[in-house]
Subunit: 334 residues, 2 copies
């Protein structure tokens, strides 16, 4: 889903008068990112532009700006920080695609399929560097430390995921821990750092951090669900691509933990040469076993927690916008 689409969606819901203009925020973030990412090398510029034009929801930077509104909101200070978080995320996406050998991302060819792994590696490094540079200009060392930790956690989560590929261990706990590192921590940090840099009191920072973490968990579980039941145009990449790569996500784990379906599913585990009809059967199994439904419930549980955190926060327009983002994520799923 592109920033435009998300913005458009919220716009249609008529929340702009009630709440913060997230659409306007996202436009500002995009402009800032574009301005920041000028490279002295044509291919690098092309790769970066392609990435920017491919869209993306800009949810993480939106979280930075929204969280900042719970304190002394200073756009000049928060905008580079928000941009940095998104650029960091873009860097991990580019490198992620090398690992997944992904051909498509957000409905377009990935950097690696277009320019090769080589350019993708350094495009990612360029983005990392740029994002760190932006961050150091705008935040305290303490928050920089937290942010670095988030990126390290992403790296650890990614390597862990890669190492577990085609593996025969099906643990919900390990899955949750992994997506916590891989995805939720950066959402948590986006909220935390936005709030902390706006001098929010520590209880507010804690609640926003928790909100971000739970939102990130729900977001990743939803992403993993959509890999089985989304439509290709919306997801922007082929269905079951995780499964084909040997990455067994929550719906598969639930299916493997269901004694009635375990044996049928096990035939497709650990294999890297599945046919289309195999994949269709995998899709049926995660559905019939209740794997999709249970995963959906897990995501909803995290989204409920999001509401619980929000309920404890002061009633400001940014809170309304955050609630809408939660609702939007709920709707995204079915």
């Amino acid at each position: 889903m592109s920033a435009d689409r998300l913005g458009g969606l919220l716009k249609n819901m008529g929340i702009w008068k009630k709440h913060v203009d997230v659409y306007e925020d996202i436009k500002k973030i995009d402009d800032y990112i574009r301005k920041s990412l000028k490279a002295n090398q044509r291919v690098l510029n092309d790769a970066v532009n392609e990435l920017l034009n491919a869209g993306g929801k800009r949810l993480r930077p939106a979280m930075v700006l929204l969280s900042g509104r719970f304190g002394k909101y200073n756009e000049e200070k928060l905008l580079p920080l928000a941009a940095a978080v998104e650029i960091m995320h873009m860097a991990t996406l580019v490198h992620d695609d090398i690992i997944d050998q992904a051909e498509m991302r957000r409905g377009r060819p990935t950097a690696r399929s277009r320019w090769g792994n080589e350019t993708a590696v350094f495009t990612g490094d360029f983005l990392f560097t740029k994002s760190f540079e932006l961050v150091t200009h705008s935040i305290s060392q303490r928050n920089m430390h937290y942010l670095s930790n988030a990126i390290k956690a992403i790296c650890e989560g990614e390597v862990d995921q890669f190492e577990s590929r085609f593996g025969n261990e099906f643990s919900i706990l390990r899955y949750l821990k992994r997506i916590g590192r891989k995805t939720a921590m950066l959402f948590a940090l986006s909220c935390q750092v936005g709030a902390a840099e706006s001098q929010c009191k520590s209880s507010t920072i804690r609640l926003l951090r928790k909100f971000g973490y739970d939102f990130g968990m729900a977001f990743q579980i939803t992403d993993d669900l959509l890999d089985f039941c989304g439509n290709v145009a919306e997801v922007g990449k082929p269905l079951c691509s995780d499964f084909l790569e040997g990455v067994y996500t929550l719906p598969v784990i639930y299916t493997m933990l269901n004694s009635q379906f375990k044996d049928r599913m096990a035939q497709y585990i650990g294999k890297d040469n599945l046919t289309e009809s195999d994949i269709e059967e995998v899709g049926r199994l995660v559905k019939e076993s209740g794997g999709l439904e249970k995963s959906n419930k897990m995501a909803l549980r995290y989204l409920e927690r999001c509401h619980e955190s929000l309920d404890k926060l002061p009633d400001i327009p940014a809170k309304g916008a955050m609630k809408e983002l939660v609702e939007e994520l709920i709707e995204r799923r079915y």
Copy 2:
């Protein structure tokens, strides 16, 4: 050449009483790096340890500490900075090996050949993140900005090199510009930042920066020379590996600019399927055409400039050690 060997070499030359104990510096840097790079993920830890054990000359961090001695030397402040510069360099090496699809580096299997591109990508990212974190703890925003620019330049230089592979353009200027970005800038920055963080006066910072740049240029040209005439054990990777990858360095450029040898050399340009006897012929051509000798002279010119800069700097023990490093680089070549 490993840190031990370099240290040992300098030690044998009996320069310890005259000069700064670079060997002791390097040991401290190594300890600091080891302490900093603990990851919460086994494979990541293994990859990092393997990299550390593989050696490396630690020249860049040594430059930070040596340059710092021209001002108010504060080891506690400079050590994390020196470590960060080396970790940054390690990150680019790991990513570099993905691009080169290198199997060997410093005489050992590369991270990518051992754990696959996937782990190598995130090992590099982990290293980048760690190095930025160290840097932000210890230096001013201004110097952080310079350092980020150096990394961006490395990325630009690497992508440029990759894009030019197997290409038919032979320009000394473009080569020098590329290695300036790819290699010399980080040496320059190591000296500059070490001096600036030690409150050296601006003329001293400028001279040290220039020294670092010229040293880096000589260093890279030497590396490119050794790709043709070094011995495999010392270089730690097969000979002519750049040429086989379509990366045409200074000796090749000189050969192609020599009208008497151009046509014979041209047969091997742009081809990615060269035989061993082709490679032997390429080796003969760069030698007979004077390509090696001219490249050697170019390196010497940069090393002379190093001495010129050093001559203008105050006579402190660190300067003596820097002179030894220049001499060591001269000896390394033949």
